[in-house]
Symmetry: C2
Subunit: 189 residues, 2 copies
DNA sequence: TCGATACGTATCGATGCGATATATGATGGA
DNA sequence: TCCATCATATATCGCATCGATACGTATCGA
């Protein structure tokens, strides 16, 4: 998904500034499967504005410089819906950790252990974060009676499941890998 | 990981052409967690050659144009090992599928079903491919008695586990999501 | 008081992807 | 038989995007 479409997507959920759009990819509902940097968001918003897909109004703040609130136009709404009909690119996973562990034999076992533990903690953190937000939405829904968004919950559940599976695998296979590395090192002596 | 390091990594497993390096990211042992395109591999190899980290010799072929075999130099070997000491970037997952499904309410339910089924099949295919290659290595190891590489097997196992978890989640939650969408559509009438 | 963090917009250089060009042989379906 | 497609193989171009950086204020904790 190109960043222009991602911006339209965030704005379809309500008006936002460039800064807030960035946060939507860091902590928001898209965090675990899409991302975008300032270096692509701001140019994207400028172009969307020039094309009439969004409109902006400056909001003055005391002390701080003005912020620009962006909002979808009807044309932007239509463009966004059209983008949803395009076939998706295949999912992709990228991991420098696995790259390093692939060459675990060239790594000091202590470093392998550190890398594994850090990654496990990181995955568990993601699980906790996404689970927390999901639980909060469910609590609000129960209290107010307003229904949950099925797509949103499905996607959050996918993230939780995947992160959990990753953490569990690292945990379950950590000791065996480290033992193998030990054996490998001794065999090389 | 930058593409130059990825090229060094592939070459550390034996000499290869640019084309073969590309294949290593499409079908080879790195396929499910790193990738690189021709547009980055060939410039990377040129630069590695200029820096003396790899050496190349042309191999003439009947009919086809010459191919250039690249091989690590001692300096390239050292540079590669140094790269393994750098701390890894956080793992990242990117999914256009989840992006579309996040907005499932704006999708015709039939399309949501098609997307889900295609993604499930794709994940199952990945599981089968990586499992098959892993099983083959294990068979060879059993027959010849030569030990398996612990890093390689760990990484393959991670890929299988994650892809399996993804396929299972999609499978398990498919019908509930589609039912919710149906309910949602009727409630909107 | 001083550094870190949050808010907020913006740009620049480098990296890397995807499409395309150029060749040729093999394979396979209409 | 013929034509399309795929596999082998190298290479480049344009565009999208990332990460770092710049600029500026406010707040909060050590």
């Amino acid at each position: 998904m190109d960043v222009r479409t991602l911006c339209l997507a965030v704005l379809s959920k309500g008006e936002a500034t460039g800064y807030e759009i960035k946060k939507a990819f860091e902590e928001g509902p898209f965090a675990h499967f899409q991302r975008a940097s300032f270096g692509s968001i701001y140019p994207a918003l400028s172009r969307l504005l020039a094309e009439g897909l969004v409109e902006a109004h400056a909001m003055e703040q005391d002390g701080r410089p003005d912020k620009k609130m962006y909002r979808l136009t009807a044309q932007g709404q239509a463009t966004f819906h059209a983008a949803l009909t395009v076939d998706p690119e295949p999912d992709q996973f990228r991991s420098d950790l696995l790259f390093l562990l692939f060459f675990a034999c060239h790594l000091p076992p202590a470093r392998a252990a550190t890398l594994l533990d850090a990654a496990t903690a990181s995955y568990r953190g993601h699980v906790a974060r996404v689970s927390g937000i999901k639980a909060e939405r469910e609590a609000v829904s129960n209290a107010t009676g307003q229904p949950l968004d099925p797509g949103r919950e499905f996607v959050a559940g996918f993230g939780i499941t995947l992160y959990q599976a990753a953490a569990d695998y690292l945990d379950a296979n950590r000791d065996a890998l480290l033992a193998d590395l030990q054996g490998h090192a001794e065999a090389a002596e």
